[in-house]
Symmetry: C2
Subunit: 137 residues, 2 copies
């Protein structure tokens, strides 16, 4: 999703479009990794040094509520990491390097639904993270 798209969605949601928010949205739209709050803050400060940590936290919180962004808490770090909500996918975390790969798999999606249904539940959310070590080929 482009920074423009994100801005529009925020405006549609009734948020005021301020400089800090524009900067943060830009950072997120251009992040192809899964930055921590700290990282979003650092990158934002490069574009606008007056931005505060509190605003980054508040903004990411809002974006998460709006569903524009996903908040991850991978088990190899003790802080949250964010990514723009693009198409549905899951993550494989390299336990040696901390690198994050993304994957998607229709079969697993179906199985999740089925398992929830079998337990008498409607699936609302899901967290699937694989932690692995690179195979030497």
């Amino acid at each position: 999703m482009s920074a423009q798209d994100l801005e529009q969605k925020c405006i549609d949601a009734g948020l005021k479009m301020t400089t800090p928010r524009r900067v943060i949205l830009n950072v997120l739209a251009h992040a192809h990794d899964h930055p921590s709050v700290e990282e979003v803050y650092e990158r934002s400060k490069k574009k606008d040094p007056s931005i505060s940590m509190a605003t980054v936290y508040r903004t990411l919180g809002l974006l998460d509520e709006l569903g524009l962004v996903f908040r991850h808490e991978f088990s190899d770090a003790d802080y949250a990491r964010y990514e723009v909500n693009e198409e549905h996918h899951h993550h494989l975390i390299d336990i040696d390097s901390g690198k994050v790969l993304e994957f998607q798999n229709d079969e697993i999606e179906k199985m999740k639904q089925k398992i929830a249904a079998n337990l008498g539940y409607e699936l609302v959310e899901c967290r699937l993270e694989l932690y692995g070590r690179k195979l030497k080929k």
Copy 2:
């Protein structure tokens, strides 16, 4: 796993079997839910009021390292929850009540392996949590 089994494994691992540890192991062995550190602390204090929070944290940390216990960070709470490491399974969390159901599914296990392998990884750990809402039947 019984409290005795847990004690034995701790001793085998070279840990000294102290009163606080015995109490905590007992609490864990009899917990059929997924108690938080605070809850383990409360339950332990009923058996031995002199126990301290620090010891509960330290003990759970040790047990986690030994693999006798699993540390979960479900996304509906902002603190960790523990359970004794019995057979492999995953969790479905009721997003309304916070209740945790357990399930196991061979097909999913295989798919996880396959996905990791396809990405060139050996699967070491995994986190699969479903979050759902009870279906009215």
